[in-house]
Amino acid sequence: MTQLIAQRPEPGTPRPYRFPAVVRRSVAGGSVVAADLPGHNLAVASLLLDAGGGRETIGVEGVAEVLAKALEEGTASRSAADYAVALESLGTDLSLSIDWDSFAATVQVPVAALPAAVELLAEAVRRPKLDPADIERVRDDEAESLRLYWANPGPRADAVLRSDLFGAEVRHGRPLSGDPRTVGALSVDDVVGFHRSWFMAPGTLLVAGDLSRIDLDALGRAAFAGADESSPVVGEPFPAGGRTTRRIVLVDRPGSVQSTLRLGHTAPHRSHPDYVPMTLGAIVLGGAFTSRLNHLLREVRGYTYGIRSEYGLSRRFGRFVTSAGVQTAVTAPALVDAVGEIARTQSEGVTEPELAVARDWRAGQLSVGLQTPRAYASALSTLVVHDLPDDYHARLRESLLHATVDEVSAATAAHLNAEGITLVVEGDAAAIRSELEATGLGEVVTAAI
C-alpha cells in the first residue's frame, strides 16, 4: 500500500548569496570587466560596443544587423572561409547580438583557447574586409532572411505595436532589425559608415571564466588594438508619453488557426527608480506560471498554451507587452479576459501571497539562472550597459526580497495603462473582426502591413 507524506517540508538553512567578485581593468584605452568562475572548463569573452539599434538613424534600420553579418565575410588578413574554419576549430562561433543599447560579439571556448578566440573576435570586429560586393550580398541575404522571418506569426504584430506606441518617425518606433524593405534598400556606405561611426570606440571586454588561467590584460590589448579613445555619449531618456484611449489594431493573417496577441503600452526606461516594484507587478500579472493572466487564460479557460506579460526596458525608453497565441474561435473572449486582468491589476494592485511568489522567484533565479560563464557574461553586460555598481546583483536581491505590497501596488497603478493599451491582434480578420468590434474594448482598425 502506497504511503505518502502529507506534510509539506520546511526549507533547510539558506545558503548565502554570492555574486563573484567583479574585476575591472583599464587596458589599452578600453575597459575589461570580468567575473571569476574557478573550475569552469569553458570561458566566455564578449566585446560590448555602444552600437545598438538605438544608434541607427531613421531610414537605415537594420544596418547594425547587416554590418554584424558582414563582419564574418573576411578580414584584412583572412578569407571568410578561412576565418570560419580558424574560429570554429577553436570550438566557437562568433555570436553576434544587437539590442537597442548595444552590440556584442561573443566567443565561448575551453579556457586554453580564449586568447586565440579573442584575437579572432577582434580581427572581425576591428579589421573586417567589408568588400562592397560582400556587403551587397549580405544585405540581400538579410532582407530575404527577414522576409522569411516575417512569414511567421508575430513579427508583423510586433512592428505594428511598436509603431503605434512610439510613432514611426522615431527610431525606436520601428523594428529593431528593420524590415525586409528597409534592409533591402541599405547601401554599402550605410554599412561602412556605421562601422566607422560606432565600431572604433574601444568599448568593454567582458570575461567570465577561471581567472587564474586567464590573462585579462593580454585579452584587453587584443580587443582594443586599433580602437580610438572616444566613447559615445548616451542620450537622455525619451519622454514616455502614452495613449489615453484603447484601440484594437487588426493584422490580417488569412486562415490562421490562432490569433497572435501583442497588447502593449509605453513604460519608463530601465533606470527608473520604480524598476523593482514595476517588474514584480508584471510577474504577478503575467510572469509566473500561476500569474493572473496565465491562470485565467490557460489553466481555467484553456484558450492558450501560454500567455505572459513583461516590461521591455532599455536605456532611453520602455514598453509593457503581453503576448500570447490563442485559438482563433476564442480571440474576442481571450482579449476581454486579458484586458480585464490588466485593468484589475492596475486598479487593485497585488496581494501578499502573489507578491511572495514573485519576489522569491526573482531572487532565487539570481542563483538558479547564474551558473554558466555565458550567464555571468550577460550579468556583467547589464552592469556595463546600465552603468551599475559591482554589488548591483547582491543589492537587487535585497530590494526584491524587501519590496512591499504597497510599493508594488503603487507601481502597477502608476505604470500599467489599461485604458490606453493598444491591442494588436494578428489573425484571420474575416473570422474575428466582427467579434472584436462587439467586445467594445475599443475602436478596431486594420493595419496595412
Binding site: E10, R15, D141, Y303, G325, V357
Partner: protein, 430 residues
C-alpha cells in the same frame, strides 16, 4: 584536458521498491537540480492514443493528493525555482532547479505526484489540459511555416506500427477522444518507482539525498507488469521515399533524412560528428557549398543534426531553404549531392578537428549547469543502467576518425535509403 566528459562524483542507490537514485554533488553554486526520467514516451502509445504520454505530462502539474491544483508551480517558482517537463518518443522527464535549501520540497512534490496523482485527477482538469495541448499543437506545428516538418518526416522514416511512426504531440482526433480512465490506467502502469530514475545534482550530499529519497519515495509501491513498447521493424521499408507539400510557406525548403543508429552506440557518436561536419557552422559543408559557394540556399537556413533517440536507428536530418529564384528541385538536387559526397568522398582531418572542437564546447556547455548534468545522468541510467557512462560521450566524439566517418556515411547515407520532404509555396504550385 579532462579525460572524461564528467569530472564530478556520481553515487547511486536503489530503493527497495526499485527506484534508482543518482546523486552528483557539486558545491560551487548554492543550487540543486532534481530530475526524474520515467521510462515511458510516445513509443509506448497504442493505436488511437497518440499524444497521450505528452498530455499526461501536463496532467502531472495539475495537483495530487497533498498538492492542490496550481500549487506545484506556485511552490517551485515561489521558492525561487525553475521547472518544466518534456516528452519525446523515448521517455518523459520532469525537472526543477531550486536554491539548495528547497531540495526536500522538490522531492516531496515529485513523490506526491508519483504516488498520489490518480485520486486527484478529475475530468475538468483533463478537459482543460486537452485544450491547452491542442493550442500547443496549433502554436508549434500548425500556425508556423514548415512547423509540421517533423510530423511529416516521422511517418516517412518509420513504417506503420513502428514506435517512432507517430509524433509525440499526437493527432487532434486522438486527443479529442482521450478518456479519463485511460490516463488513470496510464499512471498506474508507468508512473511507478521501479520505472523511474531520480537524479539530484548540485549543492547536496549523497547521504542526505538517499535519506530523503527513502523518506519520500520509499513508501510508494512498485508497479506490476507493464505493457512493453512495440519493438517495430524497418524490414520491408522500401526507398527512396519523397513527399512534396504545397503549403503557406515563404520559400521552397528541402529536408533530407536518413535512419542511422540508436543513441548510445559508437556509430551514433560518429553520426553526431558527421552531422556537425555536414551542417553546423559557417565552416560546414552545407554552408560552404550551398549558401556561400553555389548560393542556392539562404545562409541562415542550412543545417544538419542527428536526433538523440535510443530505441531504433535515429534520424540524421539535413535541410536548406531556397534563395529567391532557386527552385526546390535544384536545391534538392544540390543538397543530395552534398550528402552523397560524404559517401563517395572523404572528410578531411581539418573538417574532423573543426567538428570535434565545436562538439567539445557543446558538451561542456551542456554540463555547465547542475540541471544539464542531472538530465544526462537520468538519461544514462534509464537507457543503459549506468550513469557513469555519461563520461564516455565526449571521449566517444574525440575518438572518431575520418575512416569511421567514411564507414558510417557509406552505411547509412545511401540514396536508396533517403527520405526527402519538400515544401513548395502555395502560389508556386497553383
Amino acid at each position: 584536458m579532462s579525460e572524461t566528459g564528467y569530472p564530478w562524483p556520481i553515487e547511486t542507490t536503489r530503493l527497495a521498491n526499485g527506484m534508482r537514485v543518482v546523486v552528483s554533488e557539486d558545491r560551487s553554486a548554492p543550487v540543486v537540480a532534481v530530475n526524474l526520467w520515467y521510462d515511458v514516451g510516445s513509443r509506448h502509445e497504442p493505436d488511437g492514443q497518440t499524444g497521450f504520454a505528452h498530455l499526461f505530462e501536463h496532467l502531472m502539474f495539475e495537483g495530487s493528493v497533498n498538492v492542490p491544483k496550481t500549487e506545484h508551480m506556485r511552490l517551485v517558482q515561489g521558492n525561487g525555482g525553475s521547472l518544466n517537463a518534456t516528452t519525446n518518443p523515448d521517455r518523459t522527464n520532469y525537472f526543477e532547479t531550486l536554491p539548495a535549501e528547497h531540495l526536500e520540497l522538490a522531492l516531496w512534490l515529485e513523490a506526491d505526484r508519483m504516488g498520489g496523482l490518480v485520486p486527484a485527477l478529475v475530468q475538468e482538469t483533463l478537459d482543460n489540459q486537452r485544450d491547452v495541448v491542442k493550442n500547443e499543437r496549433r502554436q508549434r506545428y500548425e500556425n508556423v511555416p514548415y512547423g509540421d516538418a517533423w510530423l511529416r518526416l516521422l511517418p516517412l522514416l518509420y513504417p506503420e506500427g513502428h514506435p517512432y511512426h507517430h509524433p509525440t504531440i499526437g493527432s487532434m482526433e486522438d486527443l479529442n477522444a482521450a478518456e479519463l480512465a485511460t490516463f488513470q490506467a496510464f499512471h498506474r502502469s508507468y508512473y511507478v518507482p521501479d520505472n523511474a530514475v531520480l537524479t539530484v545534482a548540485g549543492d547536496a550530499a549523497p547521504a542526505e539525498v538517499f535519506a530523503l529519497a527513502a523518506k519520500y519515495f520509499g513508501g510508494l509501491t512498485a508497479g506490476g507488469q507493464r505493457p512493453p513498447a512495440p519493438t517495430g521493424s524497418l524490414a520491408g521499408w522500401a526507398g527512396p521515399v519523397s513527399s512534396v507539400v504545397a503549403a503557406e510557406v515563404p520559400a521552397p525548403r528541402v529536408y533530407l533524412a536518413h535512419r542511422t543508429y540508436p543513441y548510445g552506440s559508437t556509430e551514433h557518436d560518429a553520426v553526431t560528428v558527421l552531422a556537425t561536419v555536414l551542417g553546423q557552422g559557417r565552416g560546414s559543408r552545407l554552408y560552404r557549398l550551398l549558401a556561400d559557394g553555389a548560393r542556392l540556399a539562404q545562409p541562415d537556413t542550412v543545417g544538419a543534426y542527428g536526433v538523440d533517440l535510443a530505441y531504433a536507428p535515429a534520424p540524421l536530418i539535413a535541410s536548406a531553404t531556397a534563395r529567391p529564384g532557386v527552385t526546390a528541385a535544384r536545391l534538392g538536387a544540390a543538397l543530395a549531392e552534398v550528402v552523397d559526397e560524404l559517401v563517395t568522398g572523404e572528410v578531411t582531418e581539418q573538417e574532423l578537428a573543426r567538428a570535434q572542437a565545436l562538439l567539445e564546447t557543446e558538451w561542456w556547455t551542456a554540463v555547465a549547469t547542475v540541471d544539464g548534468r542531472a538530465d544526462l545522468l537520468s538519461r544514462y541510467t534509464t537507457l543503459f543502467g549506468d550513469p557513469a557512462r555519461v563520461g564516455s560521450r565526449l571521449p566517444g566524439w574525440r575518438a572518431v576518425t575520418t575512416s569511421a566517418l567514411a564507414e558510417v556515411a557509406r552505411e547509412v547515407l545511401r540514396p536508396e535509403d533517403r527520405v526527402t520532404l519538400v515544401y513548395e509555396p502555395m502560389e508556386a504550385v497553383a
